[in-house]
Amino acid sequence: MQTFTYSRARSINELRAVQAATGDRILAGGTTLYDLMKLRIETPDRLVDVTGIAGLDEIISHPDELVFGALVTMSDAAAHPAVLQRAPVLAEALSKAASQQLRNMATLGGNLLQRTRCAYFRNGTEYPCNKRTPGSGCAALEGLDRGHALFGGSGSCIAVYPGDWAVALVALDAVVDVRGSRGTHTIDVASLHRLPGDTPHVETVLEPDEMILNIRVPVGRLAQASTYHKIRDRESYAFALVSAAVALELEEGFVRQARIALGGVATRPWRVPAAEAGLTGRRLDRATALEVGRMTFADARPGRHNGFKIALGAEAVADALMIAAQRSENR
C-alpha cells in the first residue's frame, strides 16, 4: 500500500478547510476504503478521518421523518427502537448486511458509497476492468457473470451495486443532505448512484469534496408495513443474490400504494415503478404477489450464468409482499 497523509477533522469547518486546501479523501469506518487500499485498487494520498466530527452520530425520530446522521454505525441503526418499529425494511437491510463486527465499524454514509464486489474488479491487474482502469475493457462481459447485473448494465460494465441499505432507502424515497464546495444541498438516494454507461468508474453524482451529512427518510403507514427480504448463497453473512425491499399500504385487503426495489441484481439500487403500478388497486394474495414478482423481472437482461435470478427474484418479491401485507394487518 502506498503511503498517505492522515488527519482527523473534528468539525465540518475543519473538514471543509482541509478539502478546500488539499482535497483529502474522506475516511469513515474504512471497511470499504481501507480494504480496497490493501488491494491497491484505491490509492488516495491524503485521508481525512471524519469519525470524530461531533453531532453526526444521532438518529432523530420526527413525526413523519427519520433522520440518520451519516456517522451512525450500521449496528446502532439496526437496533434502534424507532427504526425497528417505524421502518422495519431499514433495520432488516442493515442487520442482514455484513457481520456484527463490520456493522460496529461501518457508517451509514460510507455504506451508501461502498463499491462493487465484482471479482474481476477486486482481483487486480490480471483482468481488464473499466471501473478499475478506465478503457481497459470488462472481463465480466466474456467471463463468469453469475454475480452480475440483470438491470442497468452497459457494454462497459455489468457490475452489481452490492449494498442493502441503499435499496431499502430508495424504496422509501429517502434523501441525503450533502455539504461541499457547491454548498449544502439535498439529493434523492434514487439519483445518488449513476448508471455505468461509458464511465463506470464514475459511480455517484457527488463531487470529490462533498460529504453526506444526513440521511432523511419519510415514514408513515407505508414504511411501517415494509420488509427487506434477502436471498444469499448461505444463510447469513453474504451479499445478496437477489433482495427485495417492499412497502405496502393496504385498505381492506386492497393495495393503495406499493413500493418495490431490488438489490443484488442491478448496477444501482433499482426501483420498479411498473410493478408497483401493476399491484396498485388489486387485492393481494399469493397468486397476485407472484404475478407481480414476475412483472418485476420482465425487463431483466440476463447474461450467461445469472439467468436463475429471474425465477428466484420473482419468488423473493412475492414472499416480501406477503410479509409486508402481514405487517400491514398487524398494525
Binding site: 500500500m1 502506498q2 503511503t3 498517505f4 497523509t5 492522515y6 488527519s7 482527523r8 477533522a9 473534528r10 468539525s11 469547518n13 475543519e14 473538514l15 471543509r16 478547510a17 482541509v18 478546500a20 486546501a21 488539499t22 475516511l27 474504512g30 471497511t31 481501507y34 480494504d35 487500499m37 490493501k38 488491494l39 494520498d45 481525512v48 478521518d49 469519525t51 470524530g52 466530527i53 461531533a54 452520530d57 449496528s75 455484513a98 457481520s99 456484527q100 463486527q101 463490520l102 460496529n104 465499524m105 444463510e235 447469513s236 453473512y237
Partner: protein, 211 residues
C-alpha cells in the same frame, strides 16, 4: 486547529491528538522536502497527524495497560497488536474483514482489527483474548465453555470466535441457537466446529448472565 479543545467529553475529544503531538509532528514536517507544507494550512484546518512515510504516535489501552507507540499510518490494529505489541492471540485469516479471526473489542464493541486502522484507536480501550481471563488468572466462562464443549479443532479461529462470542452474549444476541448462529456468522471456522461453538455459547451465556 483551535487552541482549545472542545469541552464536552465526546468522541471527538478522544480522537483529537494532543497539542504537544501536533506540534512535534508539524515541527518534523517542516523538514527540507516538506518545507512548503505549512503555507497551505488554513486557519481551521486539522493538523495532519501523519505525513507520508512518517510514523504517528498513538495512545491507547490494551487489556488495561496504557500504550504509547509509533505506528505507520497504513498499519492495521491487528498488525500493531501482533508485530509491535507481541499480542499474537488475534489471528490474521483473510486481512479483509471476511473471516473474523482477528476479532477484538474496541471500547467494548467487537470489530475486525484487520480493517481497523491503528491510527483510529487513539484514546480507545482495546481488549484482546490475552486480556480476557479473570484477575485471579482463571479462565473467562466463555474460554472454559469452549474447552468443555470441544468447540475447536485446529484452534486458529478460536481467539476470534471467543472474542465475538463474549460480545454476542453481552449484546443480548444469544437468546436462542438461531440467534447465536446469526450473530456469530462473521466468524468462519474452517474446521467446521460450529456445533460445539453454538453449544459453548449457549452454556456460557447462562454463566455470564450476571454480566
Amino acid at each position: 486547529m483551535s487552541e482549545q479543545d472542545p469541552s464536552p467529553r465526546d468522541r471527538s475529544n478522544d480522537l483529537a491528538i494532543s497539542r504537544r503531538d501536533a506540534l512535534r509532528i508539524s515541527a518534523a514536517a517542516t523538514g527540507a522536502s516538506l518545507a512548503g507544507f505549512g503555507k497551505t494550512m488554513a486557519a481551521a484546518q486539522p493538523m495532519p497527524v501523519a505525513l507520508p512515510g512518517m510514523s504517528l504516535t498513538v495512545h491507547f489501552q490494551v487489556n488495561g495497560n496504557h500504550i504509547e507507540t509509533l505506528v505507520d499510518p497504513r498499519a492495521s490494529l491487528l498488525d500493531v497488536l501482533r508485530e509491535q505489541l507481541a499480542l499474537t492471540g488475534a489471528k490474521k485469516g483473510c486481512d479483509h474483514g471476511q473471516c473474523g479471526a482477528c476479532t477484538v473489542h474496541v471500547d467494548g464493541r467487537r470489530v475486525a482489527s484487520c480493517l481497523t486502522l491503528a491510527a483510529k484507536v487513539e484514546g480507545r480501550q482495546v481488549l484482546t483474548i490475552e486480556g480476557l481471563s479473570l484477575e485471579d488468572g482463571s479462565l473467562h466462562p466463555m474460554q472454559q465453555a469452549f474447552i468443555d464443549h470441544d468447540a475447536l479443532q485446529c484452534g486458529y479461529c478460536t481467539p476470534g470466535q471467543i472474542m465475538a462470542a463474549v460480545a454476542c452474549v453481552q449484546e443480548g444476541h444469544a437468546s436462542s441457537d438461531a440467534e447465536i448462529r446469526e450473530y456469530m456468522s462473521g466468524n468462519i471456522c474452517r474446521c467446521g466446529a460450529y456445533v460445539g461453538i453454538v453449544a459453548a455459547i449457549r452454556d456460557a451465556a447462562v454463566t455470564m448472565g450476571g454480566d
